[in-house]
Symmetry: C2
Subunit: 142 residues, 2 copies
DNA sequence: CGCATATAGGACTAAATTGGTACCATATAA
DNA sequence: TTATATGGTACCAATTTAGTCCTATATGCG
């Protein structure tokens, strides 16, 4: 299905609930804020941190905080952080193991489509999908 | 994962292997052509037919054939035929049951992103992803 | 120091989705 | 009437995803 994983959606919610360079916010507090269980939230935050979108501080009064402003975080970054490199099809994935390559002629064209979608996601930021009133303007050329 | 289902990829391969208004081609023959099992191919062909992309003729010398030329079939049509309405997120899906709506503010913006991707897929045809030499040109405004 | 708080990392289980198969009914050509 | 081929549906298997738990490490403070 062409759908982001549920954990990725949660990832967006968590990023939206955080701020850049403010006091760290604990996983427990965030869990309450977004209405999810602590272990789940914890897992996602660790993953986003590993990808460099967040940073953390351990120990008492510790927690997580954004490394960038929300208007500088693209949807693409978040999705890749949560799901790894975007690959619409098996054959577009460079590490994919499409064993049907002999019967399939779409590989090159498909990669191109992949790029287009990738660009679409790179050109929209987290703050843009929060501002529901603001029109998102996309101009893509490929 | 933002990836089309494997069966959808197979669907593309089958469409590529078919022609408009020629003799019907049997599922068995197609299975050999693309290197997949007959039951699997059969299942996909039935689904594509139901969506109106193919038509079929039963009985001896029966089989499947395209209803349109490949340059008139968009990626979007094929994907929707195989996977149902495209919804990048749970909340973008009108039938989705996102119970976190109270904590999530991205719904409207996300729908917009969904539309952009949808359009990207509508603007590329099957024949374009077969012609690996031809440049696919996309100009999207949303 | 010792204790409470909080993240780091990895392993594990459960649930949901997807892929693949099989069966029986119906239609068609010769 | 027989061989060929699709229509529809139900089912099982495999994979993927979601969610939980446990132990280790770091930090602040009395």
């Amino acid at each position: 299905m062409i759908k982001m994983a549920r954990l990725t959606e949660y990832g967006f919610m968590l990023i939206m609930a955080l701020k850049k360079s403010s006091h760290p916010v604990s996983a427990e507090y965030l869990a309450q804020t977004v209405g999810l269980e602590v272990p789940t939230v914890s897992k996602i935050l660790k993953q986003l941190r590993k990808a460099g979108l967040l940073d953390s501080k351990r120990g008492a009064y510790g927690g997580y905080f954004l490394m960038k402003r929300k208007r500088d975080i693209s949807l693409h970054e978040v999705i890749e952080a949560m799901e790894g490199p975007l690959a619409l099809t098996e054959c577009a994935d460079l590490n994919g193991d499409c064993r049907l390559i002999d019967h399939c002629y779409m590989s090159a064209g498909m990669r191109r489509v992949n790029q287009v979608i990738s660009q679409a996601l790179q050109n929209v930021t987290v703050s843009e999908i929060m501002d529901t009133d603001r029109k998102i303007t996309l101009q893509l050329k490929s």
